[in-house]
């Protein structure tokens, strides 16, 4: 050890350092504790009250700047149990118009939450009640008000699209520490999808409160306060007047309407029926009404437009035709007979001349024709030996039209539908033990495949665009720091080239335009519109009526899908509703009042 140099003088440096730290901390503590005016705070036995300042939530407008959702002032009554001293509870209950039992229950709940932290005692008290209560509040130490806002829906429409807000749950809080107990969060619809844009940012303030429950001003002159940042406004793609009209047409019917602007993918209308008044899910009555809606046998809380899955029916024949054209196994001139051995697996249900070419087959929705198209896709040279590969080629075409998957934009509670993988059939029938014949119902849109009305509307938009689409969405723009931010969506191409759409669109025009078309009666004078009827087999009851359409043919402004459940033929109910929607959107007016009248007066809900 003697060989080592001794550094023992360094102990003085270290001691000096320790004394320096201790001194610095003591000076800091002295400054913090002694000359500070919060000393007075303790002398007067005052308490600090931490108040959350809730920002006003962003407003929601439609595409024409019609206000859809706004805020109304309301107040929550908070309590800090530890600060409550004896008071006249019966007087208090009469002021709040609650029973003594309700008082006890709420007070116990607050106690369980925390003795020292504020709990909401009574939520969402109206402006009017608040004014009166506030004057008397000094008699009840430990209770105080906090201002909140309530959502209001002036037009009472699009409940499913707009969604609702509600108190955060434990899950929300643990996922995002921004939230505290009692905060509101978007629970569904636009309110949920754009929660982060709409919510703004909470602020907080610290008030000094004396023993008489009176606020004595800000702590430290507001040094620790933060101002709340109001939420940003959101403009959605919906056309409120078309939405209202659609909801009116669908009254007393089960089903949905989805209308899309093909050039942008904007969802103009998304009607699901039966629905409910969005104002029902606001404020103190929310949970009560929600329970009631949940138990309703008509399931008004289910969004049929995005969650309802149906067989596409005859409308799917169009897609099989497009695939046939793209695979060069079908030409506009190709003819198939309606009778004979070729047609046997699926019989024709319509009477028409035979044989037909493609256009006529679409117009008359000829089953044997599309079975032959379907078979020729699978029997192409090179495919015959391997059904799996052939099926996968077919399936890839189908999914390129947006089927079998979610768009994953901002649409609440979307379902994928179902376009089975080849492996599913392998499992059912055994590997390579199945053929086009086994799965022939796919030729006419029946069988295992399932689609949503939203996907069908998007399909209609692809037809209007001759091959491409923008994923359907609701967000148009929002304001961020005073600047408008426009939503951008990427263009998606289907697997079929534009030229192959020509004959299909001609045929769809004939469905309405031609005297022999299946939906000739819903034509709109002066407007060329294209459509296709569908009657969707329903194993649980009467068939569903389906119609897809777009208009005008030359420069499509609207593409849509209408489904009326248990209503029979597509041409009877879905087609006139689609036709009225198109007329309303393009001309802004309804000339065919007889047709409108017929729809409005029909109640299709009871006869199932």
């Amino acid at each position: 050890m003697a060989s080592k140099k001794s550094y023992h003088t360094r102990k003085y440096v270290i001691t000096g350092f320790i004394i320096l730290i201790a001194f610095t901390y003591l000076v800091r503590l002295f400054i913090l504790q002694v000359p500070n005016n919060s000393y007075k705070l303790s002398a007067q036995n005052n308490v600090l009250r931490h108040i959350t300042l809730y920002p006003s939530r962003g407003l929601i407008y439609d595409r024409n700047n019609t206000l859809l959702v706004y805020n109304e002032a309301a107040y929550d009554l908070l309590v800090i149990p530890a600060q409550v001293s004896k008071f006249d509870t019966s007087y208090f209950c009469s002021l709040l118009r609650i029973s003594q039992e309700a008082f006890n229950r709420r007070f116990q709940k607050a106690l369980r939450h925390s003795r020292y932290r504020p709990s909401i005692f009574l939520e969402q008290i109206s402006k009017e009640d608040f004014a009166y209560l506030e004057e008397n509040l000094f008699k009840f130490p430990g209770f105080y008000f906090q201002s909140r806002t309530l959502r209001e829906y002036p037009l009472e429409l699009a409940a499913h699209t707009l969604g609702f807000i509600g108190e955060v749950d434990h899950n929300n809080i643990s996922k995002e520490p921004y939230y505290d107990q009692g905060d509101y969060i978007g629970k569904s619809g636009i309110e949920k999808s754009y929660e982060h844009i709409l919510r703004g940012r909470k602020g907080s303030t610290i008030k000094i409160v004396d023993v008489f429950n009176r606020e004595q001003g800000s702590f430290e002159d507001g040094h620790f306060d933060t101002i709340p940042l109001p939420g940003s406004n959101v403009t959605i793609t919906m056309d409120a007047s078309l939405q209202a009209y659609g909801e009116m047409l669908m009254e007393n019917k089960k089903g949905s309407i989805v209308a899309i602007e093909p050039s942008s993918g904007d969802i103009l209308t998304l009607v699901t029926s039966p629905s409910y008044d969005p104002n029902l899910l606001v404020g103190r009555v929310r949970s009560h009404n929600y329970e009631k809606l949940l138990k309703d046998s008509l399931r008004p809380l289910m969004n049929r437009a995005t969650m309802g899955t149906y067989s596409p029916g005859s409308t799917f024949k169009i897609l099989n035709a497009l695939i046939g054209l793209q695979e060069s196994v079908l030409y506009p001139e190709t003819q198939y007979h309606c009778s004979g051995p070729e047609s046997r697996p699926i019989r024709c249900t319509h009477y028409h001349q035979t044989p037909l070419q493609l256009k006529g087959a679409i117009m008359h929705s000829c089953n044997p024709y599309f079975w032959n198209v379907f078979r020729s896709i699978f029997n192409q040279p090179g495919f015959q030996d391997n059904i799996s590969n052939a099926y996968t080629v077919w399936r890839d075409h189908v999914t390129s039209f947006g089927f079998g998957k979610k768009f994953e934009t901002d649409i609440p509670f979307e379902m994928k539908g179902n376009i089975p993988l080849a492996s599913v059939y392998d499992r059912i029938y055994g590997k390579e033990r199945w053929t086009a014949l086994t799965i022939r119902s796919l030729a006419i849109g029946q069988g295992e495949i399932l689609v949503t009305p939203l996907q069908m509307a998007n399909f209609s938009a692809i037809l209007a665009n001759r091959g491409y689409y923008y994923p359907p969405h609701f967000l148009k723009e929002y304001t961020l720091d005073g600047n408008k931010v426009e939503a951008q969506y990427g263009k998606q191409y289907s697997s079929v080239i534009p030229e192959n759409f020509d004959v299909i669109i001609e045929a769809m025009q004939d469905v309405i335009g031609s005297e022999h078309g299946t939906a000739h009666w819903v034509r709109i004078p002066g407007l060329t519109f294209c459509g296709k009827t569908g009657t969707v087999e329903n194993p649980h009851g009467k068939d569903h009526s389906m119609f897809i359409a777009f208009a005008p043919k030359e420069d499509p402004a609207i593409a849509l899908c209408v489904i009326v459940e248990n209503a029979g033929y597509g041409s009877t109910w879905a087609a006139p509703i689609a036709s009225l929607m198109i007329e309303k959107y393009i001309t802004g007016d309804i000339n065919r009042t007889w047709m409108e009248q017929r729809i409005l007066e029909s109640n299709l809900m009871h006869d199932q």
Binding site: M1, S3, K4, K5, Y7, H8, R10, K11, I14, T15, I18, I19, I21, A22, T24, Y25, L26, R28, L29, F30, L32, Q33, V34, N36, S38, Y39, L41, S42, A43, V47, L48, H50, I80, A82, S114, R115, Y116, R117, P177, Y178, S204, I206, F219, F224, T226
Partner: protein, 419 residues
């Protein structure tokens, strides 16, 4: 084993009394911090203050165990303890229980053990053992590198557990190296790099470079302007600027938003007042509202109302500051300063360099915890979640600090028998 009378007569009672004063003050504060009217018995073991009392009792057993252990055990098995600790740290990474995003706990029955706490004394022992070896000198590069490795292996493993706070504690061992002869330049360089690192994250990099340049120009006025000196100043300026620019670049380009956020919180620039910044702001209000005499025992409103988070663990000092005011603060600072100076005094009187170096290891760890923990509650240091020794709630940390300190007291008691 030596005779019992011998051991107890040689114990430094001053340090033992300081220890118990701190542990009991801490316990009273935990009682105040989690006090509620439903469970007012201070011995209620369903409550945290009750549990802390159980842990204090267990600490007394640990102390007795250490006193009856032969001192040779500590130096002979220093490397063994260290190796076992490293293995445990590795296994906690593999099999540990994840709590709040960091995998650093072992669950034994219903008792959670945090091995990182115990790694501190094992590292202090290993470092003392290595540096007290004949012929080791910190003026040699090899010795410095080995020492740094002894420190960084457990620190790195703890860092991998996502427990940044505990890992940083190991940096404090540089104080031991300094006392044992590490050139002061290392200390100053290390400190400067750390300060530059924080500065470049706190402020716009351009401002930092301008500030450094201004500093360099000033320096040029005060030094003898020989070519060599000017070159040296400019060289340091270029080097420092390079560090600033690369830190900023690395921060923005190599780190994910999550890591960026963590670092921001660590150095206290997190803009979210509900986050780490919020804790400090609440803690300052609580301490500030205590005034000179404090609000009185159990009369604190801020800590009572749960405004201060983690008030019985990392923010325990708030309760002290609020209920006992500046007098209370003075007491805590006084107790710690007294303990530190006493440790230095005892360390310097050791005849064995092993005991001396270990003493400085104890000092380093305690000092770092004290500085950072109290510093963070009064807004002087970044918010790093490490406990206040002997005060904070928690079995692992109390036992680990007790072992750390009492091994030293045991070594010191043995000093008289060593000739």
């Amino acid at each position: 084993m030596r005779t019992r009378g011998n051991i107890f007569s040689n114990i430094d009672w001053v340090i033992v009394i300081l220890y118990f004063a701190m542990v009991l003050t801490g316990w009273v504060n935990i009682y105040a911090a989690v006090y509620n009217e439903e469970h007012h018995s201070i011995f209620d073991i369903t409550q945290r203050y009750g549990k802390q009392l159980v842990w204090i009792a267990a600490s007394v057993l640990i102390i007795l165990l250490i006193f009856f252990t032969d001192t040779k055990v500590f130096s002979t098995f220093a490397y063994f303890f260290y190796a076992v600790m490293v293995l445990i740290l590795i296994s906690v990474l593999l099999f540990g229980k994840e709590v709040a995003g960091s995998r650093s706990w072992f669950q034994i029955g219903n008792l959670g053990i945090q091995p990182a706490e115990f790694a501190k004394f094992a590292t202090a022992l290993a470092l003392a053992k290595y540096l007290s070896t004949f012929n080791i000198s910190l003026s040699k590069r090899r010795a410095i590198i080995i020492s740094v490795f002894i420190i960084l292996i457990p620190a790195g493993l703890i860092l991998l557990q996502n427990d940044t706070g505990s890992a940083l504690v190991f940096l404090s061992f540089i104080l031991v190296l300094y006392r044992e002869g590490l050139s002061g330049t290392f200390l100053i360089t290390g400190l400067s790099v750390a300060i530059l690192f924080v500065l470049s994250l706190l402020f716009d990099q351009m401002y930092v470079v301008i500030f450094l340049s201004g500093f360099a120009i000033m320096a040029l006025f005060f030094i003898r302007r020989s070519f060599k000196n000017i070159a040296r100043v400019l060289g340091i300026l270029v080097l420092a600027s390079a560090i600033v620019l690369s830190v900023d670049y690395a921060f923005n380009n190599f780190l994910g938003p999550h890591q960026q956020k963590r670092i921001s919180v660590l150095i206290g620039v997190d803009p979210d007042i509900r986050g780490a910044g919020y804790n400090v702001h609440q803690s300052k209000i609580a301490i500030g509202s205590g005034g000179f005499w404090g609000k009185g025992f159990l009369e604190g409103t801020q800590t009572k109302y749960d405004f201060v988070p983690e008030q019985d663990t990392d923010f325990i000092f708030c309760t002290m500051g609020e209920e006992f005011g500046f007098i209370g603060s003075l007491l805590v600072i006084g107790l710690f300063t007294g303990l530190f100076l006493r440790i230095i005094k005892l360390a310097e009187r050791q005849k064995s360099s092993f005991a001396r170096i270990y003493g400085y290891g104890v000092l380093s760890v305690l000092l770092f915890h004290f500085m950072v923990n109290i510093g963070m509650t009064i807004g002087l240091t970044p918010v790093i979640g490490i406990p206040l020794p002997f005060f904070s709630y928690g079995g692992s940390s109390l036992w680990a600090f007790t072992i750390l300190l009492f091994i030293f007291i045991r070594l010191d008691a043995h000093r008289a028998q060593l000739l």
